[in-house]
Amino acid sequence: MTPSLHFRPLRPAVAADGATTLDLMITVRSPEPPAASTKQRPGLNLALVIDRSGSMAGSKLSHARKAARFLAGELTERDRLAIVTFDEDVNVLVPSQPVRDPLLFISAINTIDAGGCTALFDGWLAGATQVANQVDPQGLNRVLLLSDGQANEGLTDADAIAAKVEGLTQRGISTSGFGLGSGFDEDLMGAVAAAGDGTLAQIESPKQLADLYASELQGLASTVGRKVSLGIRAKHGAELVDVLNDLPQTTAGNLQLLNLRYGQELGVGVRLQLPAWAPNQEIASVRLAWDAPDAEGRQELIEQLTLPVKPQAELDGLEADPAVAEQLALLQANRERRLAIEELDRGDLHAALASLAAIDKRLAALPQTEGVQRERRLLTEKQALMQQDRNLSRKRLRNESLRSSLNVWEGDDDNG
């Protein structure tokens, strides 16, 4: 019932008589879910923080209310929920309490109406305090932050907010960032969800909110590991030169991975540079560490990486593993989206389009599996969208670029 670590190199051996550039997928495999009904999910301790600034008026807020009612209805008396709204003021609508009676929450939710500015940080702080008051070290403690706007009241700097969110993550309370519509700050929401060890969602239609909450609850219920970190220590003169995923670093210099969920796999693509290698010599030691919901203290798993050693001449004749080549290419495609975003931000539409075309060209050279075809379809859509709606294409690109580094909600199908 614990996760496992697997290594899969692009080429199956390293050189004995010269340097090797070793491309490798490290896969973290979460355990399969236990048989139904054998185990109750841990209780959830949630705060739903809802933006009620002026821009939320109308159908957005009515959908937000509807989705919040849905959320309250899905929780049980084993869970706690607090509801906080914010515009330039923060209002704790329902202080944290067990969801014995959803009606009680629902009637409170129905009173939410639209107000003024967006004091996003203050809203988060109030929601976080509700969760902290009731924090359950064995349970799942999370703030769900829903906003459609730019933070424009109180603390507004994305990095500063993310740093504060991360401080709370270290203390056992995670944060998910849900951006709604076309006006929210995707960089801020991405930073909050990454620092918060939570889910990032960008919802273009408020109608998707209920699906998102359902998926968030399911994700929380199937979480087997939180505060997951991966430490890669190269040995004997080997050097870790690149990590393809855009993963935040922990204070100890390890990579921070997303939460482990039952039956889920997470691939990390790395490149190591090796000098001439001796047989049976360990290349790297990889340590996975996590907090389990029902166990005390840090859990850990350590695996050593060793590979067959062959003469350089023989290596050149070995086939690359097509599955690894595909995974690495998809990670690369996420990374290069960030380049396209930078080009967009500089106002260089041509360069951004060219970057996307370059990704597609590389994908076109691979066997056209389902995964590769889907990726190419996403890229084609973005190329078309970039010329019609730059803001929306930027949001979607940001969302896709973060898929390999945090939990990104992708809705029913390709952004609906």
Binding site: G43, E77, R78, R80, A82, V84, E88, D89, V90, N91, V92, L93, V94, P95, S96, Q97, P98, R100, D101, L103, L104, S107, A108, N110, T111, D122, G123, L125, A126, G127, A128, T129, Q130, V131, A132, N133, Q134, V135, D136, P137, G154, L155, K164, G167, L168, R171, G172, I173
Partner: protein, 223 residues
């Protein structure tokens, strides 16, 4: 606490029992284990949370429905719900009121595991202390300027970090903490930390105006 005998009585007997205000207060007070003042009932009536009383001659009379409304409102308010949030529930049909009350009062099978975690949970203290330090970094908020917090609930002992008045912000969610400030000799205002005060300007003025009107209403109804 509402016991089931009351609920079954209420269910069996829709409207015949009539109380004067004092009787209503006594019955409700006993069931709830708290003293309820005439002023509270008048406030709820003014707010539309409780139906207007009937009249027998010049005397206001209350029925079973009034009692149910009062019990539900107090039970919800004690759980921290605002009156605005309670209002839609309090105007439901008698059957719904009764169902609500039952649900609120039924001891839950899982209740034990739900009640606040051990007060000494290290993680809780650490997370709260951290959030309070974030609060105190922010520009001084209004409440600390107005007065110092009353005692915190004994169920949540202060974290190591001192809970000085400076670290408490208006958006802090510790709903058990209250601030008080003195308005005039012999007169104090108590404000929950969860109460939000509009920023200075027209919104604040409108808010103060509403408070003033509310106070005037209260005084008028007393005289």
């Amino acid at each position: 606490m509402v016991d089931s005998s009351l609920l079954s009585l209420a269910a069996a007997d829709g409207s015949t029992a009539l109380y004067g205000l004092d009787e209503l207060l006594a019955v409700a007070g006993e069931r709830l284990g708290e003293e309820i003042t005439p002023r509270t009932v008048r406030l709820y009536a003014t707010e539309g949370l409780i139906d207007r009383p009937g009249k027998v001659g010049r005397r206001a009379v209350y029925g079973q429905r009034h009692l149910l409304q009062l019990l539900l409102i107090r039970s919800l308010a004690r759980r921290g719900l605002s009156l605005t949030a309670i209002a839609p529930l309090a105007t439901c049909s008698d059957g719904v009121l009764l169902a609500q009350l039952r649900q609120l009062e039924e001891p839950s099978a899982h209740q034990a595991s739900l009640e606040p975690m051990e007060a000494s949970s290290a993680q809780q203290q650490e997370a709260l202390a951290y959030l309070q330090s974030l609060q105190s970094e922010r520009s001084p908020s209004l409440l600390p300027l107005l007065g110092s917090p009353l005692s915190s609930s004994s169920a949540s002992p202060s974290p190591r970090r001192s809970l000085s008045s400076r670290s408490a912000g208006r958006s802090s969610a510790a709903s058990r903490r209250w601030h008080r400030f003195s308005l005039a000799p012999g007169m104090e205002l108590h404000l929950s930390e969860t109460a939000s005060i509009p920023p200075a300007g027209t919104r604040r003025e409108a808010w103060l105006q509403r408070l003033l009107e509310r106070l005037r209403e209260q005084l008028d109804s007393e005289s």
